[in-house]
């Protein structure tokens, strides 16, 4: 999968860096530490800018290319920052046959961004995700931790309006 790479300047805080160092120290001696460290680092920073990857590479004494290779391989790792509200539309098979394509089109239309993009004001980002396993409620989308199921295209405006205020 092609990864979008962020051009927004990195502005990590000293606090975040301290947390990252803790994470690195915790996993340093584990075999196969790169993935768990990247996962936890993404929780701290929200995404994995190259600056963070460099710190991880140095901390774990692993070549940067290996860290970069892993972070671009898995779809869960994001090299772009997420919006304040990350909208994730499930495009698994069950949701797709029930019209998830139209749902994501409508969201794109309202927000003016495509999948894996973030609005200029940083409020919304849009992700097309694979099955989240709530197929009984298809089609499904999530806004951060809120889950919306059994969606119709007409519902979208109302749902997004809740997060625009």
């Amino acid at each position: 999968m092609q990864k979008k790479i962020s051009s927004i300047p990195f502005n990590g805080t000293a606090e975040q860096e301290a947390k990252l160092k803790e994470i690195i120290a915790k996993h340093k001696d584990d075999p196969g530490a790169v993935m768990p460290v990247l996962q936890e680092a993404q929780e701290v920073y929200g995404y994995l800018p190259i600056e963070v990857q460099k710190m991880i590479a140095e901390g774990l004494s692993v070549p940067l290319e290996e860290v970069y290779g892993v972070s671009t391989f898995y779809s869960q790792f994001s090299l772009t920052p997420k919006g304040q509200y990350n909208i994730s539309v499930c495009l698994g098979t069950a949701c797709y046959v029930k019209g998830a394509g139209k749902i994501i089109e409508r969201i794109s239309e309202i927000l003016g961004i495509g999948a894996e993009e973030c609005t200029a004001d940083g409020r919304f980002s849009l992700t097309a995700c694979r099955c989240i396993g709530a197929c009984g409620l298809a089609p499904v989308m999530t806004v951060n931790d809120d889950v919306y199921g059994r969606l119709e295209v007409e519902d979208i405006d109302g749902i997004l309006a809740k997060y625009m205020a």
Binding site: G32, M35, Q76, T93, A94, R130, C131, L137
Partner: protein
């Protein structure tokens, strides 16, 4: 002792439809009525009938409340739990028969099912090890460690005829015997819980509803092959499953059922969780093991098989969640009991995740050999909205579409392969006549193009070319020759790809070509999409006789493609029309059609 037990589903489906709030409200109302000592609220795993979530069952009556709303709770607590009067209006209507209430097990959805792997899902609280133990939990591990030799365990699993439930169908006992035969200072037991197949959620439900059954089976596998360490590779997209697995591991440690000297024997076994990060290819065993090592999850050629050289170069076995969920029952009930279920070559049961255009979406477990028709029509309740069944898709991006003419084929590993699909992990998506088979093939190809790891050329470039061809067909640029060319490319990719992902990626195309070639031909010859899905091939038209000239359509058209004066029939300019369908939705007189 409680007088009443209220089971509320805490699986992902019901949690998404707010079952957490229902549990909270229940507890609040029960406390307000002073019933805390009489009524017990239990959060269980998945009941299976996800379409009706959130789901709640009250025992001892077995009253099945479906699509429960928070607002209904005070009434249920007041009437049912306090006064003992079941609120019939809120029950799942198929359990209400005139004045009597049927047991859930006698509704069409459950009656045909046989729950072995799912036996505890929706029955016990998965966060309490005691409830698992009360259901004979860890008895199988005890029996194995104190009464059986590793070889006897392997023989028992071999004799049961259990085959890998992840899709491949490799005999589990045989796999174990290979790893057992290899001497090494360290061996590993892996559990594949990277359920990446979109539309499949069997493994998730087992992990959420009965995590200990997987841990216990892994320990048994460890004893059988001589391993002391296990890894569960689980999708990070399944937060509830991850959470409950961790609780289960901690509790098992606390009870001495994992860790050192289990049951006072010299067998020690420990399990660690590893979170996947969203890569479909990691469902392939060698890719998964590479990913546990923290690297890019790329597959490698086999042999050597993991049973010889697996995780960190040591002998490793890797089984799927559902496979493990069967192990303890086989040990307790014997190989013959298991073999008596299912068909000759595929023993036991299989869990399917029913989804798509079907009334009862959810999780079902049936004996092998059940026909697709029984699953779709009887258990699943058929296609809703009066539409016609067109195809069932099994095996996800590696599988195929099965048309109505094959609905009576008994489902097992070999039969599905014979009709160009595969068992896969158990996703079963139903499609009706509004689904375009070319579009669905394209959907799966988009998926495999995205998920191809890029290591081998046939898969990386081949799937991309295949997708481009499909794309051409859906936008009206296809020719019959292109279809032949596409078919050739499919076989090329199948024969030359390194791993299962590439080898099966063309299946959705091949199976739809095989069963729905007419539909492909309609796209390339007539330039029409019979299901009216492919936008470029659609035309919106106004039927003159039906149009009243109300102008609603021309006002809603975003590109001004509709012309006509008031009270006169309108006309759509096909050159301007962007086929958004807004006019058709707006028309009150059904005067606009697409063809």
């Amino acid at each position: 002792m409680y007088r009443s037990n209220v089971l509320v589903c805490g699986g992902t489906g019901c949690t998404s439809s707010n079952s957490e709030l229902i549990i909270e409200k229940l507890k609040e109302e029960i406390a307000a009525k002073g019933l805390e000592k009489e009524v017990n609220v239990i959060r269980t795993g998945c009941f299976g009938l996800c379409a009706l979530g959130p789901i709640m069952i009250v025992y001892p009556e077995g009253s099945f409340y479906s699509m429960v709303k928070v607002e209904d709770i005070p009434e249920i607590v007041e009437e049912h739990l306090l006064k003992g009067r079941i609120v019939k209006r809120l029950l799942y209507q198929e359990t209400v028969e005139q004045d009597t209430i049927k047991s859930l097990n006698h509704t069409p959805f459950y009656e045909k099912q046989k729950r072995v792997a799912l036996r505890n899902c929706g029955v016990i609280n998965p966060e309490k090890i005691d409830e698992y133990i009360a259901m004979d939990g860890y008895a199988a591990l005890g029996k194995v460690l104190t009464e059986m030799t590793p070889q006897q365990v392997i023989d028992e699993i071999k004799a049961s005829g259990l085959r890998g439930r992840g899709g491949g169908g490799f005999p589990t006992g045989l796999k174990w015997s290979f790893a057992a035969a290899n001497e090494a200072d360290q061996k590993y037991v892996g559990c594949n819980a990277d359920e990446g197949d979109p539309g499949a959620f069997m493994d998730r439900s087992v992990l959420e509803g009965d995590p200990h059954s997987v841990l216990e089976a892994m320990a048994i596998a460890g004893y059988a092959i001589g391993a002391s360490k296990g890894y569960i590779y689980v999708r990070a997209e399944y937060p509830i499953a991850v959470h409950r697995l961790q609780i289960a591991i901690d509790q098992a440690h606390e009870y001495g059922l994992l860790g050192d000297n289990i049951f006072g024997t010299d067998f020690s076994f420990d399990i660690q969780l590893r979170l996947g990060a969203g890569a479909f290819v990691c469902g392939e065993e060698t890719a998964l093991l590479t990913s546990i090592e923290g690297k890019r999850g790329e597959p490698r050629p086999r042999p050597p098989f993991p049973a010889v050289k697996g995780l960190y170069g040591k002998p490793t076995i890797l089984n799927n969640v559902e496979t493990y969920a069967n192990i303890c029952q086989i040990i307790l009930n014997g190989a013959q009991w298991f073999k008596d279920m299912g068909t000759e070559k595929s023993a036991g049961t299989k869990v399917f995740a029913l989804g798509g255009k079907i009334k009862h979406t959810g999780l079902v477990e049936v004996e092998m050999g059940t026909t697709l028709r029984e699953i779709v029509e009887e258990i699943g309740g058929g296609v809703p909205g009066g539409r016609k069944f067109k195809a069932a898709q099994t095996g996800g991006p590696s599988g195929g579409c099965i048309p109505a003419s094959h609905l009576d084929v008994p489902i097992d590993y070999d039969n599905l392969i014979a009709i160009g699909s595969m068992m896969g992990s158990g996703g079963l998506i139903v499609m009706d006549d509004t689904t375009c088979m070319v579009d669905i093939a394209k959907f799966f190809l988009e998926f495999t193009v995205d998920e191809s790891c890029g290591k081998c050329t046939p898969c990386r470039i081949g799937t991309k070319r295949l997708l481009e061809m499909l794309d051409k067909i859906t936008i009206g640029q296809g020719t019959p020759e292109l279809i032949d060319e596409m078919e050739k490319l499919c076989y090329y990719i199948k024969e030359n790809s390194l791993c299962g992902l590439g080898q099966t990626a063309p299946n959705p195309v091949l199976s739809t070509l095989h069963f729905f070639r007419d539909e492909y031909m309609a796209h390339v010859v007539d330039k029409k999409c019979p299901a009216h899905v492919c936008k470029k091939l659609l035309q919106y038209k106004i039927i003159e006789d039906k149009c009243r000239g109300c102008t609603a359509c021309s006002r809603v058209c975003p590109v001004g493609a509709i012309q006509g004066s008031v009270k006169q029939p309108h006309v759509i300019d096909p050159n301007k029309c962007i086929k958004c369908g807004a006019c058709m939705e707006k028309c009150k007189f059904d005067a606009i059609i697409k063809e």
